[in-house]
Assembly symmetry: none
Homo-oligomer: 151 residues x 2
DNA sequence: AGTTTAGTGGCGAAAAGTGGGAAAAAGTGG
DNA sequence: CCACTTTTTCCCACTTTTCGCCACTAAACT
């Protein structure tokens, strides 16, 4: 399971070195082959290949009559890029994806169970603070309680 | 069961030595493996690994239905960090989490049954006093009666 | 008062993250 | 189809961070 927040830097070539603690697991699950795509919230998603293939299968089965489903499929499949861990544990983020997520030097890798999210540092903290602020004001529904998961 | 408040110090590297009375219990329950995450009230939560895994399982099932739940998942899973008791009974609090909870030198560890909360000393006393003051003013809902837990 | 145990601090070896150069490959235009 | 330019990939080197270990102080217990 991928967890936790990892502040990292992209180098000049757009490479991102994945934290060492995850590398072995990524090598076991799919030989270090990964798939990168975009998320609605302007971050990138990073899946181990086997996990992505499962999602891809479901995406393809989605009915083409529904226009929302077609749109989702086009977005996710259309932006999906294979990438591979290199010898020093890094992956290359293609320029178009970096631009989409506004990734420059400072980046945050966020573990999300079966996948990672990649945010620009600025984007991540902005998202977090706005969520916490909104929660405090009780504008939206409250968040569920953690232990019981009751709302 | 974890109870009580423990004033403690972080050292220069952000390490926190857990009170000796809890150590054996933490070693029994999950080999001293712990998970640290954040709480909305700007403190940290410290779970024994088995307890956290139960919560994590529920979190993952919860997602996709409700957008608030998705946000909660991103927040909690995204900030969850494994940590481990070291040889002298300490855990390392990662810098991003320390910053989130404004932890500097003086810290309070608060027992909460199946988990601990970690507050900055200042944050803890401020929270407590403001809660009591607000309760007295009858601004918010009153606190329930302790013995009956009726409102 | 001596002995033990808890909490704290800090050094140093090892590992992780980052940057850059050169070889290889791919793309582009004549 | 070949030559040139740009991009990609591989590899090595440097710097910083991390983590295990030991040492010190203070409090508690005998």
């Amino acid at each position: 399971m991928f967890r936790g927040i990892n502040p990292l830097s992209l180098d000049g070539k757009g490479r991102l070195s994945l934290p060492a603690k995850y590398r072995q697991h990524l090598l076991d699950e799919g030989n270090g082959q990964l798939v990168l795509t975009i998320d609605r919230d302007r971050c990138l998603l990073l899946y181990p290949l086997p996990v992505w293939e499962e999602i891809e299968r479901k995406l393809i089965q989605l009915s083409s009559t529904n226009s929302r489903a077609r749109a989702l499929k086009r977005l996710l499949l259309g932006h999906a890029e294979d990438c591979c861990l290199d010898a020093s544990g890094r992956i290359l983020l293609p320029a178009p994806l970096r631009e989409f997520a506004n990734l420059e030097k400072r980046v945050v890798l966020v573990g999300q169970g079966n996948k990672f999210e990649i945010w620009s540092e600025q984007g991540w903290y902005a998202w977090r603070e706005s969520l916490l602020a909104e929660d405090q004001d009780q504008h939206g529904e409250p968040l569920p309680d953690l232990d019981t998961l009751a709302f």
